[in-house]
């Protein structure tokens, strides 16, 4: 009981010194709980949404996906004849049935030809207004669409683009462009998942989306009373036979939910991973806090031991303090986590997805996980300092404060650190020289983990060298103040090492990813320069296929030497080794594509792959399936006939662009696939006549003005787009790593604040003999900068090593060029100095405010 009492007293006596550790625990726990609450809430929301939008039983064409996705390669949704509706209506147990037409392969523009699609990546849906929709949407102004001249739009889209009744809209589909005026605006009665939805009447929808009437994409069936959904499904299936997909409401919702959940899980685990890094960094902070508290309390602990406390009791009293800290930080963290989740929901609202706080889902596991994690991590981190406290001898009560350096522990540490770092370095070396990516990535992972731990262990030993170098470069100009700052940073290498290591972890990841990212851009750019022989690339950024009308517009543009189309399709391959490969992709392009993209071949001439009934495969595929020049591959095309194609070229697998493509000509594909099933173009390549590039670029842009969903890019634009894309991804990761870096900064603040307390007497003495406040503050800031730069130097070095290794390994996958992003790395390094300055603000201010006499009199 006394142990608990002393711990409680100590804890509350030093609550200021515990505050930063508590915040570190709080942040990490909040991130974990926030992630869990947010993803659970998203799942609840979608669950409700899918329950609400699914009819009792839905019938759709066989080609439709389980979740009701209505896109297909030819740009038109898979449809069923109208006769299906009559059959369903006649089936047993059916109360009513309604045919609907939907498509997501559409773009809608306003009268200025501005794209109305959601920018957040949500779908654009155009469909027929039907009874099922009327349950989830409420017409708030105007009327439902009637006749070809009318369209109804959802309220969110109308708000965002300031659309009003009577505005002219254009619906662009594979069929063509259909113009209509807004007749009504309908508001969501359920959560809008970020989609833009437009309604036409059934006939217009059929015409606009499919090109003919009398077809439906779905039939929504309502059960008669007393008929369950599975029974109804049985009856409908009996009436229709097996040619159609029949799903109960639950099946549809589940299939939809599965898609959402798999996406949410990726997000959840990624975010939890970053929370884990923050926890790891927090551990260093907690270790430092308790080490310093134990050191400051050495005499006190010695006294406790002298009057009869056992080692175990001393040890336990420190751990009890840690538990209190963990509980406090975690409880606050759980609360902050819920707040964070609400914040994220608000953010989603800004992106077009309005989540309701009534759906806020806090599973009972969330606080439990948060609390457990917070407490366990805190207690584990405090374990080493607690053990050290237990080792304090009763004699310490008599000695002056200050623990003597442990030379033996230093040597053991050095040995372990060198072994770990060495093993890590060797693993990285193996990874860099691996000839198989799969084996190499294992070595890479092992190398990263080992070298990280090695650096953490060896860090305190590197402090002396690195800080002296930094001191020589940076601090000399600050004279004696700089020298004292350097000495202070060197004073307790373990503390400086642990504080720097916390920053090191985050920055190592930043450096590694920035090296890999910029190497990706450099490699792709390099290959673009070397292999691309065309001027312009036309494609949609949302993955939509290029409609025939748009292709026609491109082809009609003046100043172009040639336009090449590029399609992908699927088929079941039967290769010479006798195996059948289901749903394998094939790329069909115009023959000149061999010039547009000069992919290297290892055998044959790529141009020959475009001869009738010919194709190419890539080297790895050829090796895996025993394919040589002249081998025949049987391909049963999806929705088409079966072809026997001769392999006339084998391309290198060592490419970034079109990696793994198997080429054939569009003409060959057209022989086996019926015209109405032919896929639309994925990409269109245009090459200008010599010397007319600029003019052609302008003409192309104006030719595609009516199709805002497609982007024309010349090579410069394309490289920039590539760079932006990777830059965006990196920024997102940096943003998430910011959490770990913030915790590390708190660690620097913590170390400095506790050091200042520890050195109160010294500070008093220096002030007494004439150190000015300004000099004192500068001294503390310098120390802080040195610690931060120490962490940054180690982190950036380590991260560059990892990044370079990853690039060497990925060179096997075409990442040929190593590019070290010096501007980024130097910015990070200088940023760390700034971080050091900021971290020192409060400790320096407090040190400056100390009363000289009181400070000298402190025990």
């Amino acid at each position: 009981m006394t142990v608990l009492k002393t711990s409680m007293r100590n804890f509350f006596a030093h609550k200021g010194r515990m505050a930063l550790s508590a915040i570190a625990v709080l942040l990490s726990v909040a991130f974990v709980c926030g992630t869990l609450v947010f993803t659970d809430t998203m799942n609840t929301t979608f669950d409700k949404l899918f329950q609400a939008t699914s009819s009792d039983v839905t019938v759709s064409a066989k080609g439709a996906s389980d979740s009701g996705e209505t896109t297909s390669d030819n740009g038109r949704p898979p449809v069923m004849p109208a006769s299906v509706l009559a059959k369903v209506r006649a089936a047993q147990g059916v109360k009513s049935a309604e045919g609907t037409v939907f498509s997501t392969s559409v773009t809608v523009v306003d009268h200025k030809k501005d794209n109305l699609s959601p920018t957040s990546g949500g779908p654009t849906i155009v469909g027929s207004w039907n009874g099922n929709d009327a349950r989830t949407m409420k017409i708030t102004s105007g009327t439902a669409p009637k006749g070809p001249g009318q369209v109804m739009v959802d309220a969110d889209t109308a708000d965002k683009h300031h659309l009003k009744l009577g505005d002219d809209l254009g619906v662009i589909s594979a069929v063509g462009t259909h113009h209509a005026k807004i007749s009504g605006i309908a508001d969501f009665q359920v959560t809008n998942p970020g989609a833009a939805i437009f309604y036409l009447d059934t006939k217009t929808a059929q015409q606009t989306l499919v090109g003919r009437t009398g077809v439906y994409t779905n039939v929504n069936v309502t059960a008669a009373s007393g008929v369950s959904d599975p029974q109804l499904k049985q009856h409908v299936r009996a009436a229709l036979g097996t040619g159609y997909k029949v799903q109960t409401a639950k099946e549809t919702a589940d299939a939809n939910q599965k898609d959402v959940e798999s996406f949410m899980n990726v997000m959840k685990y990624a975010m939890l991973g970053f929370a884990g890094i923050a926890f790891l960094v927090g551990i260093f902070l907690i270790i430092n806090t308790f080490s310093m508290l134990v050191a400051q309390r050495t005499r006190e602990i010695g006294l406790m031991r002298a009057i009869g406390s056992s080692r175990k009791q001393v040890n336990r009293s420190v751990l009890v303090e840690a538990t209190l800290l963990g509980v406090l930080g975690s409880v606050l963290g759980v609360g902050a986590g819920v707040g964070l989740a609400v914040g994220l929901m608000k953010l989603m609202g800004k992106l077009g997805m309005h989540l309701s706080t009534t759906d806020l889902t806090v599973a009972w596991t969330t606080p439990v996980v948060g609390l457990l994690l917070g407490v366990v991590v805190t207690v584990l981190a405090a374990y080493l300092p607690a053990r050290r406290a237990g080792k304090v001898s009763p004699m310490a009560a008599l000695r002056d404060a200050g623990a003597p350096a442990d030379a033996k522990a230093g040597r053991i540490r050095a040995l372990i650190g060198i072994v770990l770092t060495g093993a890590g370095g060797y693993s990285l070396y193996l990874a860099a020289n691996a000839d198989k990516a799969s084996g190499g990535s294992l070595w890479l992972g092992l190398g990263v983990v080992l070298s990280l731990i090695g650096f953490v262990v060896i860090g305190p030993l590197l402090v002396a060298g690195v800080v002296r170098v930094l001191g020589a470069v940076l601090l000399r100009m600050f004279g004696p103040v700089g020298r004292m700052a350097e000495r202070n940073a060197l004073r307790n290498p373990r503390r400086t090492g642990a504080t720097g290591a916390a920053l090191m972890i985050g920055l190592a990841l930043v450096a590694c990813l920035s090296v890999v990212g910029s190497s990706m851009v450099a490699s792709a750019t390099d290959q673009l320069d070397k292999t691309v022989g065309t001027d312009f690339i036309i494609q949609s950024d949302s993955g939509q296929l290029v409609t025939p009308q748009a292709v026609k517009a491109v082809k009609g543009t003046p100043g172009l030497a040639r336009v090449d189309e590029y399609k992908t399709y699927e088929g079941d391959y039967t290769t010479p080794d006798g195996r059948t490969l289901k749903d394998t992709d094939i790329t069909a392009a115009d023959p000149a594509y061999a010039t547009d993209l000069r992919t290297k071949t290892v055998a044959g001439n790529l141009k020959d792959a475009y001869l009738p009934n010919s194709m190419s495969v890539h080297e790895k595929f050829a090796k895996a399936h025993g394919i040589h020049l002249g081998s025949k591959i049987r391909i049963a095309f999806k929705d088409g006939a079966t072809a026997n194609l001769t392999v006339r070229a084998i391309t290198s697998s060592d490419v970034v662009i079109d990696s793994g493509a198997k080429y054939t000509s569009i003409a060959t594909l057209a022989k086996y696939v019926p015209a109405d099933k032919m896929p639309l173009d994925q990409l269109v390549f245009a090459t200008a006549k010599d010397g007319q590039q600029d003019a052609a670029y302008k003409s192309l842009k104006s030719a595609l003005h009516d199709y805002p969903q497609y982007k024309v890019r010349d090579q410069t634009d394309y490289k920039q787009a590539l760079k932006d894309q990777i830059g965006q991804l990196l920024n997102m990761i940096y943003g998430l790593l910011a959490l770990a870096i913030i915790v590390a900064i708190l660690g620097v603040v913590n170390t400095l604040a506790l050091s200042v307390v520890e050195r109160t007497r010294e500070i008093g003495l220096m002030r007494a003999i004439g150190l000015s406040r300004r000099q004192l503050r500068r001294m503390i800031r310098m120390e802080s900068v040195v610690i931060a730069l120490f962490g940054a130097l180690l982190g950036l070095g380590l991260g560059m090593g990892w990044g370079a290794t990853a690039q060497k390994l990925l060179a096997l996958e075409g990442l040929k060029v190593l590019e070290i992003p010096w501007p980024t790395l130097i910015t990070v390094f200088l940023g760390s100095a700034l971080v050091g300055l900021v971290a020192a603000l409060i400790p320096a201010f407090r040190a400056g405010r100390m009363n000289v006499l009181n400070a000298i009199a402190t025990e």
Partner: protein, 262 residues
């Protein structure tokens, strides 16, 4: 008596005044109303230049407070303190710090040295902070006087308590301050080491012409001084020139007895 103003303001010490520091009607009080405690009660004092002054008195007599106020470490409630001709009462922290750095030396009872700096660096610290180059010859003489020539590269933790205090003395002397204040500088030392340190202080007065003010409660320490001031209840109650340990002890016993009977 509440005054120790006995020295002519101008004497035979060259251009400088004969008084290195003086206090006029200095009051230092803590708290207010019923809890008001007066540590210094209208004290007037002159510190003679080139002399070794000891301030004595029982615990709580205000002797340390007086020294702290004279040294610009503490503020006064009312009254004036002058260092040479400079009034230091009312100076802002920045000026006061500069004054301590450039014109005053300190020796504390313990924890005089920065553990991260070696002996020599500790000695030159006040000058380093000021950005001044130490006078090499003077430094050598000071180091020699305190007998530390072979210990200059040692860290404080490698020095004995007596050696540490000698480093502190050397630091106080090295910058050639107008006045050195010692707060029981031998309080933590055994008698031999204490005698050594006091010997150096005496020699620095005799040979280097240094002005020293030392707070102590040890009659033996006080006997090294030229003049002893006695404080009780925040007032100067007596003074003694050319003290001996016995005389000081007798005077102390006197005060003690008086304190007990009154």
């Amino acid at each position: 008596m509440t005054s120790a103003v006995t020295i002519p303001r101008h004497g035979g010490t060259g251009g400088r005044t004969a008084v290195a520091a003086r206090a006029r009607q200095v009051v230092k009080a803590y708290g207010s109303g019923e809890t008001r405690v007066v540590a210094l009660d209208h004290v007037d004092v002159d510190i003679a230049r080139g002399q070794f002054t000891a301030i004595m008195g029982p615990s709580g007599s205000g002797k340390s407070t007086l020294m702290h106020c004279l040294a610009g470490l503490d503020t006064v409630t009312s009254g004036q303190i002058y260092l040479d001709e400079t009034e230091i009462t009312g100076l802002k922290d920045k000026k006061l710090t500069q004054l301590r750095r450039d014109r005053i030396g300190f020796i504390f009872q313990a924890f005089n040295l920065l553990p991260t700096l070696n002996a020599l660096e500790n000695i030159t610290l006040p000058m380093d902070i000021a950005g001044r180059k130490p006078d090499k010859q003077w430094l050598a003489r000071v180091v020699d006087t305190v007998g530390l020539s072979d210990r200059l590269r040692h860290r404080p933790s490698q020095l004995s308590g007596g050696q540490q205090q000698r480093v502190a003395v050397a630091r106080a002397l090295a910058a050639r301050p107008e006045i050195i204040f010692g707060d029981e500088p031998t309080g933590n030392l055994d008698s031999r080491a204490g005698a050594e340190v006091l010997g150096f202080l005496r020699r620095s007065v005799d040979e280097l012409g240094q002005t020293i003010v030392m707070v102590t409660h040890d009659p033996v320490a006080a006997s090294y001084a030229d003049r002893v001031l006695y404080l009780a209840d925040g007032r100067i109650v007596d003074e003694m020139y050319k003290p001996t340990a016995e005389a000081v002890l007798d005077r102390m016993k006197d005060f003690d007895a008086r304190g007990r009977t009154s």
